[in-house]
Structures are given as structure tokens and as C-alpha cells.
Amino acid sequence: MEFGVCSDKSKAFIRLDPRSKLLLLMAISIIMIGGTTVGIEGVLRIICAAIPFLLLLSIRQYKAATIYLLLLGTALFCEKQVAPYTHGMCNIILMMICGLITRFVAGYMMGWYTVKSTSVSEFITAMEHMHCPSFISIPISVMFRYFPTLSEEYKSINDAKRMRELGHPLKQPLTYVEYILVPLMMSTVRIADELSAASLSKGLSAGEKRTHICEIGIGSIDIVAIIGSITMFVLFLVY
């Protein structure tokens, strides 16, 4: 998973609060996966499919938006125009693939947009605004910081291991894992220790309430998004 660095305000046409993004993501996924294609649900599906496209455009991800449009278009075309002319196994496979794409791709793209347009900082700030307790938000922020470190450490250890010709991943999988895990744990423990010392010296665990430099807040677009998501939910559940 890769979060964008502190997202650049000037680059996005529409700036959504991480909380509205999460809500939209939920609404779109549920409606796209669970809904039928007829009646009011059909209309909801069209709206839900359009939202990720527009949002991708808003953060200038033109390539991703185009791919999304083509993928969805092809799948719908195949479902409606090609599938009726096929029979048997061929028909089942085609319907399955198209069904998967039409149902999942919108949610996936919305998720991709959320990740791409939200920085770790914004995400954590949002968590704390949602009154997520610090024993959850601090470990999660450390986790984000830890993934890249782990992969860096893994790379160095793997290089060292290859120099010693230790444990082939297929022939001796257990030895292989052992000689990765032991040094990895050693270095992880050391880094964790130094990290706690460094954060303590910068006043973390001060007991005082933490503040945030990243500004997030519910704006007018967020209100539209939130009301929209809730309305779609209600319509989806009622009909």
C-alpha cells in the first residue's frame, strides 16, 4: 500500500475529507457489489460508477480514469452485446469475468483514489478527529512508517544472505526463513527501541492532547458527498 505524501492542495480540483472518502467508498462498494441493474438500483449504479471517474479526474489521474472507463465500458459491452451470442462454458466464463469487473472495478477505483489522494498524515488526523483513541492511532501511524523500513531491512539482509549462499527458498525453505527472520527481528527491535527513544525526546506520550499541522475539515463538497452517500444507502435499502 502506498499513500501519497502530504497531498498537494494545488493539484486537486476537489478536496474531500478522508472521512467522506471512506463513506463514499463504503456506499459505492456495497451498491456496486450488492445491487441489481434494474429500476432505481440501476440508476444508483450509474451514479456510483461515475463518482470514481470524476474523482480520478479531479486529482489529475487521467490515465487511471481512462483505463477505468475503458475497462468498465468493455465489460458492459461484452455483457450486453457479446455474451448473448455465446453458449455453454464460453458464456459462463465471459459472464463471470464481466460480472466481476462491473461489480468490483468501481469500488476498487474509489479505493485507489482514496489511497492516492490521502496522505498518511491526513489519514491519521482524520482518525484522531473521529475520536479514535491514541492507543490505536499511534500504532497505526508507526505501522505506516514501518513498512518501508521493513522492506529496506529485508533487502539488505537478503543481500547478505546471498553472499553466504544460505538457504535456498525452494530447497530449504525453513532455513531460508530462519536466516531472514533472525536478523530482521534483531534490526527491527533495535530500530523500534531507537524510535521510541527519539519520540520520547520529542515529547510524545506527553499526556497532553496532540494537535495537527495537516488541515482536514468538512467543507461544502464533503456535505454533498456525505448526504449523497446516505441518500444512496437509504434508497438502496428501501427499494
Binding site: 505524501v5 543481500d159 547478505a160 553466504r164 533472525v182 515529547g203
Partner: protein, 488 residues
Amino acid sequence: MIRFADFSFCYEGMNEDTLKNINMEIKDGEFLLLTGRSGCGKSTLLRSLNGLIPHFYPGETKGDLLYGEKSLLKMLPSEIAGKVGTVFQDPRSQFFMTDTTRELAFGCENMGYEREEIISRVEKAVTDLELEQYLNRSIFALSSGEKQQIAIGSVYALAPKVYIFDEPSANLDHEATKRLAGIMKKLKSAGYTIIVADHRFYYLRDLIDSVIYIENGSIVARYTGKEFCELDKTLRIHKGLRTVYPEKEIDNKQDDKLAVKSRLGGHKLKVENLSFEYEKKQRILDNISFEASPGDVIGVIGHNGAGKTTLISVLTGILKEKGGKVYYGGKKLSPANRRRLSYLVMQDADYQLFTTSVEEELTLGISDVDSDLVSGTLDKLALSEYKDKHPAALSGGQKQRVTIGASLIKNSEVLYFDEPTSGLDYDSMIRVSELIKELSGGGAIIFLVSHDFEFITHTCTRMFDLDAEKMLDVNKGNLQMLAKKYFA
């Protein structure tokens, strides 16, 4: 003002005090250098200043440690954070955030300052320390030197009066060290108190007001900056101190011809038109060619990002070349052949220690173990008494010797050292240097990447300059050229 009043400290579970009856005063605006051999208690002294003792490292304190009129020992870490700021040794492990801007604000966020206040503090840090170019970037994309500048910035934003630097130059190349000295100069002229503990201190020679020399937990000597810079060489070496003027070491370099004579017969390593790139159009190594003979100790030099580490990775076979050939004794080598032939002693020995005892470590991956060879190697590296110990329990220098030992047992003919002297005191540096000379005397070809001028002068017979892409002999003329780059 900071005052140690008969201050002693004993870590929990230890029998002996690590700091013994420390008495000293650090004036406001003073630039103090703490020095002494590895393990003398420098780091412990710093930890007592920034509140990690007693809050992070528990133990027993005696005497008192005063900040102004108030005891530092009675303050909470959050209270100390606004007064004493610390820049730690390893730039990799002092970041809590993933992006630079947020990291700069991290301390202020912890203190619970208002958003506007945080922004103005971060802005001030960015302007004063010239950090604009690093803003809004991923921490993981920065070099060690850049990470350290961000670390200094995030301390600066908290506006402490006292700055502590724990071995700040250990992970830096000479360019980054120069920039660090520039920042310290700025801090000093702004009136901050600065306390630095480091083994290498040439870069501080124009800044130091006073020096404290610690031995075995006690202060055994105090100097003014001037006295310290003029210390007699014999006394300095006796105290295990690095030189203040590395460029003067050139004068001790023996005659140029000796280096050439030391070259032995045997298989040569020949590199022909070696190229490497991570991504298209981003050539890191471009048609590198050279020849190395047994007995050569080759220092790989070049500016930051010239591809020193990449060259070593390709030569050791960790990376596959994109073009060119490597021959040993006239035979072309594939990356797998190169891995078999060579051994890399990494900067961070922790990556190379896999087992639970030193002896096991040395024989790991060897099918027919020659026990005489193992005990001989342990003797040679002064590790015999530690042979049953867990590698993790050893000191940094000892860990490094264990990895060197593994290369001896593997009987590698080409050895590579990546920054072997980072964070080493004079004695350990000389020990590594002697060991490398001994290995090369035995017919090994040795490459080392190092920005430690004193060490290069002591150890190398040749240098491969990646900027000019040519092999140079280590003679006075070439060293003076390098010194000009490093110290001018």
C-alpha cells in the same frame, strides 16, 4: 546553564556505575565536544541530559543535574523536550512520520501547540535551516545527510536552548558533514548551547569552545578548543583520539613506490566496460574499466550518488550488470560466480549475523569445517574469548570482526568493505586498517568504500575515482587533491 553536581549513574542490572562523579558546568552558548573511546560513557552522559535517563533507561542516579536552578532529573520528558533537543546517531531510526513536513511538525504536535503556531515554527525552521527543497517529500527517499537535516529541523521547531548531537557524522559522507558543520555554525552564532559527542571531529575544529575527555565513566581531561586542536600527536594517539587535521596525515604517507611494490602475483580482477542502470536512461555506472591485482587495497571514491555502493553491489554479484564483463584470472564471471568469489563486509554488521554463537557464525554454510582454521581465525581477530557468545551481545567493532572472520573462513579472494570505520574510535579504526593490510598481504584484493580520509590515507594503496572513472595510486599528490575536495 547546565551543571552536573557529583552526578553518577548506574544502569539497572549493572554492577558498576557507567558515569562516575561527574562535575562540570556547561555555559549558555557554549560549544562542547565530548570525546573518549567507544563505551567510555559519552552516550550515557547525553542520555542524562535529554531525559532518556531516567525515563527510558532506568537505573540509579546519584548527585544532581541542574538546568538553571531546576533539576533535570525531576522534569518530565515533555518538559525537557522544549529545553533540550537531541539529534540521534542513526538517521534511519529517528523518524516517526513518513513525510518531511509532518516530521518537522511532529515535536510541536506532541506539545499540543495550535496549528498556526506549529506552521509558523516549521516555517521558521525551514527558512533558517534552508530546508525548502526537502518539504513534502517522503522521508524514505532522502539520503542520510538529508534525513539528518530534517531531524535537526524538527528539533529546531521545538525551539530548545540546548542541542545535543550523538555521533552526528557517523553516517555522513564528507559533503553532508560539511553541511552539518554549516548548520552547527549557524546554531552556535544564534547563541544556542551545543553538545556534540563524536569520534571524528575534524569538521568541528573551528567551532569547539571546550572539550571534555571521558575515560571509563569519569572526566579525566578538559581542554579549550585551541588546546585540543594543538594536542601533541603521541598524546592524542595514546588517548585513542582521531586527528583534528586529517589532511596533515598525508605527510606521514610513505614513499609512493612502496604501494606499487606491494602488488603481488596471482589472479587479477579485470573489469571491462561495466555498466549499470536501475531504470532506463538513468545510467549509474557507465563503461567502467579497471584492473586490480592481489595485494591492492582500493578505495572507491566519488561524490554522493556517483555509484560507489552500486559498483560494489555489481562487483560482488548482488546486482547483475547491464553491460560489460568481469574477469578473474582470465575467466569471465557470472554474478553467481562473483558471489562465490567475494565477500562484502556491510556497514551494518547486524544484517550479516544469522546464528546464536560467534563460532557457529564463522562456520555457517561451510560443509567441511576445519577446526584449526576456525580457532586460528578467532585468535587472529581477538574473538577467542567470545566464541560461545551470542553475536548480538557483542560491541559494534566485535560484530564487524565476526563478519570479517566469516570471510576468512570462506576464503574469499576478493573482499569488499562498505564504510568499515563509521562510528569507530581511533584504536578500532587502526585495528581495522591493520587487519585489512594483513588480508591484502595474504594475497586478497580489497575494495573499500569510505569517506574517512584518515582511514583511506592509512589503509589504501590505490583509489578508484568514480567521478573521473580512473584508477589512481595513493600518493601525496593524489591525496592532496582529495583533501582539497574534502576539506576546502
